[in-house]
Amino acid sequence: RRKRHLAGLMSKTRPRRGLSEHGYMAFSKKLLKWRLIGEGYSSQLAVEEQRYIFRLAFRMWSEVSPLEFVEDTRSPLEDVEIRLGFGTGKHLGCNQRFDGTGQEFAHAWFLGDIHFDDDEHFTAPNAGSGISLLKVAVHEIGHVLGLPHIYREGSIMQPSYLPQESGFEVGWMDRKAIQRLYGGCKGRFSTVFDWIRKERTPYGEVVIRFNTYFMRDSWYWLYENRNNRTRYGDPVTLQAGWHGLPREGVDAHVHVWSRTKDIVYFFKGTQFWRYDSEKDRVFGQDPEGHRYPRPISEGFPGVIGPVDTAFYDRRDSHIYFFKNSLVFAFNAEANRLARGFPKNIRDLFPAVERGDHPNGNIDAAYFSYTHSTVFLLKGTRFWRVVNSRQRRRRLSLPRNGLLPHKEVEEQWFDICNVHPTALKL
């Protein structure tokens, strides 16, 4: 009776590590170490291939959660949170024997051990046959992070293995499940912009396309507005996608797009670059003979770099440069500072709700073609600028008024860092 009573007490006092519907937050740390145990290598794949697949599996969870993972082959094993290994039958001191080929192909323990049954035929991603080690690894890591089995089509956490679809990714449902445990991804951005490109269809028509980009120091994400998530496999380094831009990132992107001009600029420090959207690299020398980078004061007299951010307002063909609590409006047609500027940001962009204002030093001023409005971002928040449609509906709204702030992560989802060692996967 005493033993039963004690057992009952224990189950009440410590959090149940069973598999409740949403799982449990297994780790309170954001940076987790993992290791493929030396005596637990698979006999079927090269060791480097195994380690690559696990690095990719961890990165895939990192891309959708605030967690970062780093492979650690040196620290004492007890300092490594997640340990992976292969074995057959009785294996790695585990009390759950593997059953040979078929049925159970892996299991995970909530203390961070993941075992793979080496009698199964594990294959590299997209091999088209066997059992994808990547899919199984993502599934078992999900368990170690605290996710239970999820019986929904499309979830990687389904208990039974589904043959490899090409291009397997962590789906929307699993993203929400892991974010329910660890929260969404937060962080400041260097700049946010829509990049416009003219493309020619197979029929020779010119169509105009855009994509949304979020930049954070030397990384960037392409954001797929239609899918409400970042592009699979992002972030990538700035060098990989924006040739010629400063390695450490930019302060601002401006696209001057009018009847007479179609010019893309990037700003960093006291200099600026002109970007060749056709060749997808910065101009060394532009058609007008200017060599880049150039001093901002030379190209935009009256504006002193570094700037916090900037955007081009097609309504009045002005570039608005933000610097601390000041805003410089620059007439892009007349190529001079507009009269009466700089102005205080609170005067030019008044708060619709008293006191709800970024008060300068913003990170990004972003005109979104998806939302047809300007957003001001600062830290983890954004303020939406009242647009003409909203002013028609509510005449009391001031011009360029800032609507009450919201959290960036509630509007743009899954813009998550990965550990630098996983960046180049």
């Binding site: 033993k3 057992a7 224990m10 189950s11 149940r16 590590r17 069973g18 598999l19 409740s20 079927q44 057959t88 039958g89 759950q96 593997f98 059953d99 040979g100 080929t101 078929g102 049925q103 159970e104 192909f105 892996a106 299991h107 995970a108 009698d119 199964e120 035929h121 294959t123 590299a124 091999a127 046959s129 066997g130 059992i131 199984v136 599934h139 078992e140 368990h143 239970p148 089995h149 019986y151 089509e153 208990p159 039974s160 293995y161």
Partner: protein, 117 residues
């Protein structure tokens, strides 16, 4: 001679590998359901004093497994259920297991030290 036709060796059957026991009868099915948490607190052989209750537990566990696996809920160990049980799968239980029960057999040597940390 071990023949290799495909570069990734995926065509080579591992003749010397063990095979998981195929689930073909209700006894094996009961083991499966117990292992993955669909049957609680009693092993397949149970303590034998309530066969009616055990079979009802087996049927309801079977129905639950069929439900979460998207199969027709028949409560019968039919072909579709057999096939689903034999699919490659993760070894983590599907249902929340009562750790104490799972680690502390009902009968067995007293002391049950396995549940003590």
């Amino acid at each position: 001679e071990k023949l290799y036709h495909r570069r990734d060796r995926s065509d080579v059957q591992h003749f010397d590998s063990h095979q998981a026991q195929i689930i073909t009868d209700e006894h094996a099915a009961e083991l499966f359901l117990s292992r993955y948490g669909f049957i609680k607190n009693s092993g397949p052989d149970g303590d034998g004093d309530d066969p009616e209750g055990a079979s009802q537990a087996f049927i309801s566990a079977l129905e639950e497994f069929q439900r979460v696996s998207g199969l027709p809920v028949t409560g019968q160990f039919d072909e579709a259920t057999k096939e689903a049980m034999n699919k490659p799968r993760c070894g983590v239980p599907d249902k929340e297991m009562d750790w104490n029960a799972a680690t502390e057999p009902e009968s067995g040597p007293s002391g049950g030290s396995t549940s003590a940390r």
